[in-house]
Amino acid sequence: MREILSLIFMIVGGFFNLFGCIGLVRLPDIYNRLQASTKCVTLGTCLTLLGMMINGPLNSSLKGFLCAIFILITAPTAAHALSRASIKAGINLWEKSVVNKLKEEEK
């Protein structure tokens, strides 16, 4: 029972990772890519870790818990730092973008 449950969690996590990486290739702009890939890969990694934690020795379960918390804290922070740096470096948004409040403020 526990094995089946953990396999289900890991497969769902793998699907989410795959969606994130497809988004990394298909979307047109660095900001959209960053958004899709960060969301999907973070949740996919946490689900894979959860599947390992359900059916594993206690040592590795606790380390996996710490690893999940670490990734939940740091992955959005890295995305924020990278997007802010791209804005500062002058990389423009996609040409079909609707609104850019940040550029309107600077004028």
């Binding site: 793998g14 990772n17 990694t45 690893c67 890295a78």
Partner: protein, 85 residues
Amino acid sequence: MITILFIFLLICSFLCLYRISKGPSPGDRVVGIDILGIIVVNFCTIITYLTKVDFYMNIALSWALLSFIGTLAVSKFLEGKGFDE
């Protein structure tokens, strides 16, 4: 089932490598490298699941940490500042 998962993660790695090699701006390449670092954590998790040995999680933690610091350093460089200010 585990084979399917490995195939998924391999496809993910190759998509990231495509973005790293193709990306028009430097920021795109850094996004690819950042996501590739988290995919490696997934690989370590699956190896822990298969072998029941707990020190692969140490490798996963160190990899996530160093990937985070590398992303911060490159983004600070893209921002146009020196490393020390």
